[in-house]
């Protein structure tokens, strides 16, 4: 199981490294990766269908409780099949779609990275591992949305989606840590076995809030839905794969996964019902007046995600069955609608349904797939969409939140019917409108368009599967739906999906939806005027509110940066020292009075007195000097006298190092002396007084701290440890050096890395300046 996750990560590196060696047309072979994974998981079907759960664990960071543990149960199997199965089609399609793009190799790296991260997410058996994969999917999605990095819109959308899902990720992590802390384990299987042990815990509301924020941002629930329409800036295969079939369902997956752990309480179901219910209606209304095919699909996807959240909120077994069936149905028809849109966009250069029309004759095979997908989305009897729509109504009718036949109950049913009518229209708009009627005079249709099989086969297969499953519902029923529902509901389930349920309220609602949707479809004429009319209302949309909040943050950080970073070194030093002084004074104040133990002080020798006199003289010269060269010389005298003091107090290593450093500093000064701006003397008395107070204060504080250190009982443990073990363990007699290269060698390693970075920094700064002056 682990290899299926790692395979993609490993192969993902290849296109980037082999771009010079490998010809572009070989990239289509990458579709082998999802194919292998798909076949592997197909073979796991019988075992999982019989009710077993496969687990695999490899130690990773056992001390933190993070292990590479994977768990394959019905729910993860469903998702792995969707990810790898749809992945095959997407890989083939994307190759043909982008084969002329400069960065196609990079694209496949991102896509493989995403696929593996997504597989890891659904297979993780460890909360922290799950979180890592969760963030990886956000990250790869960021790169894929911003793939056309020359367009500003793409970059902006990528950033918006990344910040939104990334923010959700933080909340999710907080929820995971709380859960793990309360349960005492981060292992998902153990958590599922424990069940909901949190509902009486005071943190339960907090956990649910954090958890749902994470899931809702990822699955684009209101008010976080706005990143998804923006994400449509990505190449169309990405929209089909990430932003409709798989990644956005990660939030749904997570809610389903945690239903046995956190669910079963009103506090859990109510937010799901409210947010899901609102999102599904809000988004579908938003999809109806749009003219861009991808926008229509984006909003209807958000609506579908709302439906899924809603169904999980219903919380009954039928609700879960409906959710699982709808995940399958939606992934199949929405992915193929997206892929069809991509073909239209690629061949005609427009996605505007107010001008598109009559394509049925020019590209019949694509039209056929689109119509099939649209019919499945509308829930025509015989399609899998019909079965899932039936189940949605059945679940809504059977919901136990409100009393049967109460107002609330009817409200829920009304909500579901309205949403589904909207989804029927949206599906028809995207799948049928471009292919029927007559095209607008604004575009010229070529009489015949050649479409490569790599483009039309994937949507064709996906749309056909919708109908195959719809005709033979018992195929997925036992092998896929049952085990998936079992892992949500923790009881053996038999969904018994069937084409014909007999005459019932559910069937009536289904037929009403289909009829009303079709009727309304013929009445709606998408136009730009309508779109602009609705755009006026967007001022109060969540996107603008979030953008406003971001702007406030931006201006705030800009003003802070401008205050702190005014470009004068002296001002930085001033601020840093002042801040340190405030901290130190506070600490000294807290720590109580200082005593000086005179018995501990050693007598002062004549050498020390002389050195101090030289030091003071040099300092005085430094302060009074009128030229920079004198100041440099005086500073170096200060440095050398300090070296002498180190020698007196038997720290030869330190003295030697300080001596060399001082020499080199003087050299450095000499090199840059002529480059520096004219010597500034601060005649301004006020500045001088201010600076001297700060400087003297700092000196006094450091002295006080030194006295304070002496006041502490001197712990000789550390000293003894190094003295005793320096020779026996590290075979060195010089304790200082042994500490540097052995006991604390890791520190030294990082220090030399920092030193190297500083060296490279100076180098690149100066080189950079040279280049820009060359340009001038």
């Amino acid at each position: 199981m682990l290899f299926t996750v790692l395979l993609g990560f490993i192969v993902a590196i290849l296109p980037a490294f082999l771009r010079k060696v490998v010809k572009t047309r070989w990239l289509v072979l990458l579709a082998i990766v999802p194919s292998l994974i798909f076949i592997y998981y197909l073979f796991q079907l019988p075992a999982i269908a019989s009710g077993s759960v496969l687990k695999q664990s490899t130690d990773w960071v056992p001390s933190l409780g993070v292990n590479l543990s994977l768990r394959l149960d019905g729910l993860s199997l469903l998702f792995t099949l969707l990810i790898s199965g749809i992945g095959i089609g997407i890989f083939v399609y994307a190759y043909e779609y982008l084969k002329k793009h400069r960065y196609i190799d990079r694209f496949f790296t991102y896509l493989l990275l995403f696929m593996s991260a997504m597989l890891g997410l659904v297979l993780s058996d460890n909360l922290l591992l799950l979180f890592i994969f969760w963030e990886l999917t956000s990250l790869s999605s960021f790169f894929l949305i911003g793939f056309n990095n020359e367009s500003e819109g793409s970059r902006k959308s990528a950033l918006i989606s990344f910040t939104t899902t990334g923010m959700g990720g933080f909340f999710l992590l907080a929820a995971f840590v709380l859960i793990g802390d309360i349960a005492g384990t981060y292992n998902l299987s153990e958590l599922i076995d424990q069940g909901n042990i949190y509902y009486e815990h005071p943190y339960y509301p907090l956990i649910i809030a954090f958890f749902l924020l994470g899931a809702f941002t990822k699955s684009a629930q209101f008010p976080f839905h706005f990143w998804l329409p923006g994400a449509m800036k990505a190449p169309t295969p990405v929209s089909a794969y990430l932003h409709s079939a798989t990644m956005v369902k990660a939030g749904i997956f997570l809610i389903a996964r945690f239903t046995p752990i956190l669910g079963g309480q009103t506090m859990w179901t109510a937010p799901l019902l409210i947010v899901g219910g609102f999102t599904m209606l809000y988004a579908v209304v938003n999809s109806l007046y749009r003219t861009d095919l991808k926008s229509i699909l984006a909003y209807s996807t958000i609506s579908a995600l709302g439906v899924l959240t809603f169904l999980l909120g219903v919380g009954t077994k039928t609700g879960f069955i409906a959710a699982i069936a709808f995940i399958i149905a939606h992934a199949l028809y929405k992915a193929s609608l997206f892929l069809v849109t991509g073909i239209i966009d690629l061949k005609l250069g427009t996605r505007d349904i107010s001008v598109l029309g009559g394509l049925g004759k020019t590209i019949p095979i694509v039209a056929f797939s689109a119509v099939l997908a649209a019919l499945s989305s509308a829930g025509l009897p015989g399609s899998f969409g019909f079965i899932s729509k039936d189940l949605i109504y059945e679940a809504t009718l059977g919901s136990t939140i409100f009393q049967p036949e109460s107002t609330g109950h009817y409200l829920l049913i009304g909500l579901a019917v309205l949403t589904n009518i909207g989804l029927v229209i949206a599906g028809f708009l995207a799948g049928i409108r471009p292919f029927t009627g007559t095209p607008s005079t604004k575009i010229k249709l070529p009489s015949k368009i050649y479409i490569n099989y790599k483009l039309w086969v994937p949507p064709f297969i996906l749309a056909t599967i919708s109908f195959v499953l719809g005709m033979l519902p018992h195929l997925p029923s036992h092998k896929i739906v049952d085990p998936a529902v079992t892992s949500i509901h923790n009881s053996i389930t038999s969904a018994d999906l069937a084409l014909w349920h007999g005459w019932s309220v559910v069937l009536a609602l289904s037929l009403v939806t289909l009829a009303a949707g079709s009727a309304l479809y013929f009445m709606i004429k998408p136009s730009h005027d309508k779109e602009q009319y609705f755009a006026k209302w967007q001022v109060a949309s969540p996107q603008n509110i979030f953008a406003g909040i971001t702007d406030v943050f931006k201006t705030m950080s800009m003003s802070i940066t401008n205050f702190m970073h005014n470009g004068f070194l002296r001002s930085y030093t001033f601020k840093i020292i002042l801040f340190a002084e405030i901290l130190f004074v506070y600490l000294l104040w807290q720590d109580g009075p200082i005593y000086i133990d005179y018995s501990q002080l050693s007598s002062i020798s004549i050498y020390e007195v002389i050195t101090i006199i030289i030091l003071c003289g040099a300092l005085l010269l430094l302060l009074l000097s009128k030229s920079r060269l004198t100041a440099v010389v005086a500073t170096s005298v200060v440095g050398y006298t300090i070296c002498l003091i180190f020698v007196f107090y038997s720290a030869p290593d330190l003295a030697m190092t300080q001596f060399s450093i001082d020499t080199l500093t003087v050299v450095l000064f000499v090199f840059v002396l002529f480059k520096l701006p004219p010597f500034l003397s601060f005649k301004n008395l006020k500045t001088r007084v201010r600076d001297s107070i700060i400087a003297i204060g700092f000196g006094v504080i450091i002295s006080l701290i030194t006295l304070k250190v002496m006041q502490q009982p001197f712990s000789s443990e550390i000293k003894d440890f190094y003295a005793n073990y320096a020779y026996t363990l590290a075979k060195g007699k010089n304790v200082v050096n042994v500490i540097l290269v052995d006991f604390r060698g890791m520190d030294t390693m990082f220090e030399i890395v920092v030193l190297s970075i500083a060296g490279l920094g100076v180098y690149s700064l100066l080189k950079l300046r040279l280049k820009s002056s060359e340009k001038e």
């Binding site: 052995d742 030294t748 030193l755 190297s756 100076v762």
Partner: protein, 137 residues
């Protein structure tokens, strides 16, 4: 800055200072010294040479750009840090060859780590100073 006295002095001082820096590096394990000080002394030697003969000539003498020294030193230090893994020890474990080598003393990963530090210090200091000196003219 072209002075006959300095040029003549540097002819003798450069090898002596370099030898001294290696001496400091090697004795560091038992007596005051070590890779860091050794590296600084070696850099001072080269800086002195650049005073007498000009930075361009010192760079010719060095043969490699100081940036390469940084890379080599880091590589050496990192290798000596991770080599113990091959014997199943955690990284940074000091491994020593049992036999003593004349002049150098005992040889172990810590010595190579120190040599790495030495080279990085020489590379970084010379890189900073020479870049500045070449660009300040």
């Amino acid at each position: 800055m072209s002075s006959i006295i300095l040029k003549t002095a540097v002819r003798y001082l450069l090898p002596i200072l370099l030898l001294f820096s290696i001496f400091l590096l090697l004795r560091g394990h038992h007596l005051p010294g070590g890779g860091f000080v050794g590296g600084l002394v070696a850099s001072i030697a080269f800086v002195l040479h650049s005073f007498a003969h000009g930075t361009e000539n010192t760079l010719k003498l060095l043969k490699y750009n100081p940036i390469r020294f940084i890379a080599m030193g880091l590589l050496l230090a990192a290798c000596s840090m991770f080599i113990p893994i091959l014997w199943g020890y955690p990284p940074m474990t000091a491994l020593w060859v049992d036999r003593m080598i004349p002049v150098v003393g005992s040889i172990g990963t810590a010595l190579f780590f120190d040599i790495g530090v030495y080279i990085v210090v020489v590379g970084a200091v010379l890189n900073i100073l020479f870049t500045i000196s070449l660009h300040s003219h």
